[in-house]
Symmetry: C2
Subunit: 211 residues, 2 copies
């Protein structure tokens, strides 16, 4: 319901959780799922579930619930998780290595197609089945390969320089694990995944619990 382009941010964070709960639910073979059930399986209140699903092209049946398969499809549709999308990882450190080999990407239609680093000692070596390439070759590479998504796992000091090269290559989406605010033009989307924020949040709450 509702052809909304421009889903509220908090809703957007919850949709993937519904999707995952639905995939688990799929295995049960049940055809419908109620908002309360979907809610409890994803840790979200049932009225919030219904409100959120308002932004998705799907209709629930009264006294039955939402058709599981349709809902999965609609969520994939709205999240842009249809088809394959190529991405590169910039930064062949520990986190970059872990991410480039993370099998979970496939479930979300992403494929890590190449890995870049600025360290000459790393360039040319193999990590998993990816050969590490030089960041200097990135802009040309991106244009030629038409890759529009990048994951940044370089140290903070290098992040902006790498970002500039990505922009030069015409990147459209950046998943930034470096702990700095990146300066990008308005047509480039940046998602910051700052692990230190998680740490601080944890610290804050644990400190209150124990003093």
């Amino acid at each position: 319901m509702m052809h909304d382009r421009g889903i509220p941010k908090p809703t957007l964070e919850r949709l993937p959780r519904y999707l995952r709960a639905l995939r688990r639910h799929e295995a049960t073979g049940e055809i419908f799922i109620s908002s309360s059930r979907l809610g409890s399986e994803s840790g979200i209140e049932e009225f919030q579930v219904r409100k959120d699903l308002t932004h998705v092209e799907v209709t629930g049946l009264r006294s039955k619930g939402y058709p599981v398969e349709d809902l999965i499809l609609a969520l994939r549709q709205v999240l842009g998780l249809t088809g394959q999308r190529d991405a590169i990882v910039v930064g062949a450190g520990r986190l970059g290595t872990a991410l480039s080999q993370y099998p979970g990407f496939t479930n979300y239609g992403f494929k890590i197609v190449d890995l870049f680093d600025s360290d000459p000692y790393k360039v040319g070596s193999m990590i998993g089945d990816l050969r590490v390439m030089s960041v200097d070759s990135m802009p040309k590479y991106l244009r030629e390969m038409g890759v529009s998504t990048a994951i940044i796992t370089v140290p903070a000091e290098e992040a902006q320089r790498v970002t500039d090269q990505l922009i030069e290559g015409g990147i459209k989406g950046i998943w930034n694990f470096a702990p700095v605010a990146l300066d990008v033009p308005p047509d480039v989307y940046v998602r910051n995944e700052d692990l230190a924020i998680g740490l601080a949040s944890l610290s804050y709450h644990v400190a209150r619990a124990r003093g």
Copy 2:
């Protein structure tokens, strides 16, 4: 200003960003920093900065700004980043390995003191300078060592079982990288770090940018 116990969640997410900007700023040797400067260095509007700092025990000087050192101290204080805090990692897979060796924890006063896994083949082996221990020994271990923070990097199917063992051991804070909602008593704080949400968010925005 303001002895607030119970800082708004969005503010809590921004405080670590100020802290980091301040640390970078520290190197310049300047004693004061204005809200607009601090804002631009952390990518946040200046009035938002001032509002946020309302929840922190610090006073800015008119026409000068905030004293850098005091502000750093106050932020560390409110975030509970004073002193050393021990934590364990549960799950010796790729992510668990990367996190257990991540040097950044030290900056935030955390120390990964041990690593647990349920796989008998992994138990006993060394990862970095940590020996992998069996999850079955966790509850006793936690009690004896007084560790109250854990990082979960096990697969989704195992996460709740592991969580139950952590709770049995008296854990107070969990940083959960497994993509499931964990069921915990109200006195246990769970911070979910769901990488798939980042993926989905990225996918949504890139899909809109290119169609």
